[in-house]
């Protein structure tokens, strides 16, 4: 830890460059979080047996957005959404103009990320309190999650990237394993009929499933720390979306085939129920849900901490502070208060849905808007000139 601290202190002024595997793990582990527990229900509620198609389409939309952010990043090398926005919207003579215009952009992301951090921490607390630690107060589960996330946020981006890199296999392998193992109780007629596909329902399912993919907007922040002109970095970002896409599709197929969409409606945490009905062959672990939840804590932690980090970093940049650590300290009680705000779990889901709409629209709209303006104003073309895109 001492080495890391020293290194990150050393790197403080120079911006740290993420490796391709770090980019991938940052995106993947931010996306996979609380959504994985509710996704089978939320998408099949709308899209019925075709829920997995909604998930695939949702993934493709996320891939498209990622591609767009990468394009933006290629134009504005070493700049994140805020600094890119400043140079797109500002003029060379009046630098403050860019700052003024870019402020709403940062503000939207800020609000959204704050809501998300609090919402994810609260959902985590709700799951733990309902399913595992029944007697533990919600305040404790939410508080500890936020506090652990806070501890990580006090460090620099490099630490965050490494934590994510280490935790990624711990998150992915068990979730994939569950998805595959639960096919033993699957009844595949429940996935039919495939056609005629009810496109309106599938589209509604996409909107419902958007929450599952939230987290890729982190890229708008880390795009300042990647070498997006390198092809493998761009590919890593795409992989970062493709992994959750695979995991989610498998989980939704498994959930639909095991329960049927009509039963999924009744399950608060369908993936957890799926885990409960899964038997590991050989009876090595009879109740794997405790193991699964243990792993899932890591998944939630990476989501919470990464988004928390993003908020603090953005605010630091906006206010021109020395280190985002100070923002994190101020933010912690606010986040906790916000997490405790929803009166019950159903309201929480409602708020999270709204928050994810903000996130979806802003992560789609803002990069697109900036990209279009940049194209019109022919900004950042020079960097692009030397690089085949």
């Amino acid at each position: 830890m001492r080495v890391i601290v020293r290194m990150s202190n050393h790197n403080q002024n120079k911006s740290f460059i993420l490796s391709s595997s770090q980019v991938m793990s940052l995106i993947t582990s931010t996306i996979i979080g609380v959504g994985v527990l509710t996704l089978p229900r939320t998408v099949t509620e709308k899209a019925h047996q075709s829920g997995w198609i909604s998930v695939l389409i949702g993934g493709m939309i996320s891939l498209a957005i990622t591609w767009m952010i990468m394009k933006l990043s290629q134009r504005f090398h070493g700049k994140n959404i805020l600094s890119a926005g400043e140079s797109v919207l500002g003029s060379k003579k009046n630098k403050w103009l860019g700052k003024v215009f870019a402020f709403p952009i940062a503000f939207i992301f800020m609000i959204y990320w704050i809501l998300m951090t609090a919402g994810v921490a609260r959902t985590f607390g709700e799951v733990v309190v309902t399913a595992v630690l029944v007697k533990t107060p919600l305040e404790v589960t939410v508080g500890t999650m936020l506090f652990v996330a806070f501890l990580m946020v006090t460090y620099d981006m490099e630490v965050m990237a490494r934590v994510n890199e280490i935790l990624l296999p711990i998150i992915i392998i068990p979730v994939l394993l569950i998805a595959v193992l639960s096919f033993q109780s699957a009844y595949f007629y429940r996935l039919l009929p495939l056609f005629p596909l009810d496109w309106i329902a599938v589209f509604k399912g996409v909107l419902a499933g958007v929450f599952g993919y939230q987290g890729y907007e982190l890229m708008t922040l880390i795009m300042g720390n990647i070498q997006s002109e390198r092809k493998e970095i761009r590919r890593a970002a795409m992989f970062g979306i493709a992994i959750p896409m695979l995991v989610y599709t498998l989980i939704v197929i498994a959930g639909t085939a095991a329960f049927g969409y009509e039963e999924l409606k009744n399950l608060m945490w369908p993936t957890l129920e799926l885990v409960k009905t899964t038997e590991v062959p050989g009876l090595i672990l009879e109740r794997i849900e405790s193991a699964f939840l243990g792993v899932w804590v890591a998944a939630v932690f990476t989501t919470t901490a990464n988004i928390y980090f993003a908020v603090c970093y953005l605010i630091k940049q906006l206010l021109g502070l020395k280190h985002h650590r100070y923002v994190a300290i101020v933010m912690l009680p606010a986040l906790y208060y916000l997490a405790m705000w929803p009166r019950n779990v159903h309201l929480l889901f409602e708020y999270l849905t709204y928050a994810s709409y903000i996130g979806f629209i802003s992560s789609l709209g803002i990069p697109l808007f900036l990209l279009v303006i940049a194209m019109i104003r022919k900004q950042g073309e020079k960097q692009k000139g030397g690089q085949p895109s």
Partner: protein, 383 residues
């Protein structure tokens, strides 16, 4: 300066570690009362209450737990305790009042529901079970003939904890494809599914015996009828594509008392919907391969002709049984227990109307069952 600061951080972390190890939910295993089976009855006083009974193992009496005083098996190893309430959780709460330790449902293996209660509707009961995270989806729900409490009191003496006898019976016979594998999770799914009539195993407690007695058929959450073990045989073959166990038929129509017994080994069921004009038809083709395990007829099985005759006789018998079952479901119960609608919705969604299926189309459905039996082996005997 910086080193000192780091030292302070270290102390902070240590404090955090101390705080984080606290566990609100820690509970010693001997401080809880584990339930292995629940039984739900209507209150005997006819006051509309629910009576909840629980079978609780007594750890000291179960062999292998230190003091070797137990092990004789039998009633001493478990305690049965009942309580009433307006709702299931109310009854459980009243039960808790009479126990010294906290109730723990995580080990529940069987939920027994009395026939009377099942006929009134089990929706409210299942609702309370669904909300409790400790109740697992892999436990066995059963309908008990008469009082559900009798099942908990019954003691087949082969297991120390009597209800484990029932779970093994259900589990192993489900693996042998003789009894349908109906867990609570599956019952939930079938109940939510609009294309299938849910079923639940029926168990009768006769003194020290626990006897499986077919399937209870549910409509929504109410039990509306029963399939006897013979009908379940066809049910398993048509719906679950499981062999159903051995079958015996007369070798020859002239000698109805002389039987030949077939043990099916593999079964392939194919269902195919056809529409002729306005009329919907379902063709079921079931191919069974099996071994002859017993004959009383004294005819040489080495002759192909005899084998063909037996195959035909068995196929006819199975076909009759299946048709009787389907007829009964169509005319008497009006309940699509065999999940034809699941298939119809999956393969021909345009022909499936959720509103009229059960009342109009299903009773009129033209079902043709066709069995093809192949005898592959005749055991260790050459003839």
């Amino acid at each position: 300066m910086k080193e000192a600061l780091r030292g302070r951080f270290l102390i902070l972390y240590l404090l955090v570690v101390v705080v984080l190890t606290g566990c609100w939910d820690q509970q010693e295993i001997e401080e809880r009362t584990s339930i292995v089976a629940l039984a739900l009855d209507k209150s005997t006083r006819d006051d509309g209450l629910i009576r909840l009974s629980a079978q609780i193992p007594i750890p000291k009496k179960v062999a292998g737990s230190g003091t070797n005083s137990g092990g004789a098996g039998g009633k001493e190893a478990v305690k049965i305790i009942s309580s009433t309430g307006f709702t299931v959780s109310g009854a459980a709460n009243n039960l808790q009042k009479r126990l010294n330790q906290e109730l723990f449902y995580g080990h529940t293996r069987v939920i027994a529901i009395s026939e009377d209660l099942a006929k009134e509707g089990i929706g409210p009961i299942l609702d309370s079970l669904r909300r409790v995270p400790q109740i697992r989806r892999l436990l066995w729900p059963v309908v008990v003939k008469g009082e559900a409490l009798t099942l908990l009191q019954s003691n087949p003496k082969l297991e120390q904890i009597p209800i484990l006898y029932l779970t093994d019976l259900l589990h192993n016979n489900a693996a042998l494809e003789i009894i349908p594998d109906i867990t609570l999770g599956r019952f939930y799914s079938d109940m939510s599914d609009s294309t299938v009539g849910p079923v639940m195993n029926i168990i009768e407690a006769k003194g020290d015996e626990m006897v499986w007695d077919g399937l209870a058929v549910f409509k929504l959450d109410k039990m509306i009828g029963q399939l006897n073990p013979k009908e379940v045989y066809s049910f398993l073959q048509i719906k679950e594509e499981k062999s159903g166990g051995t079958v015996y038929v007369p070798c020859h129509p002239n000698q109805p008392e002389k039987m030949v017994v077939l043990k099916p080994k593999t079964i392939v069921t194919k269902k195919d919907f056809k529409k002729a004009g306005d009329h919907l038809a379902l063709n079921i083709t079931i191919r069974i391969e099996g071994d002859v395990v017993e004959t009383q007829c004294g005819i040489p099985l080495s002759k192909q002709e005899n084998i063909t005759n037996i195959e035909r006789a068995i196929a006819n018998d199975m076909k009759n049984r299946a048709e009787q079952l389907i007829k009964r479901l169509q005319t008497e119960m009006h309940q699509d227990v065999l999940a034809f609608a699941t298939l119809l919705r999956a393969t021909h969604p345009q022909w499936w109307d959720p509103k009229t299926w059960e009342s109009q189309e299903f009773p009129k459905l033209d079902v043709n069952v066709d069995y093809r039996v192949h005898i592959r082996r005749t055991g260790m005997e050459a003839m």
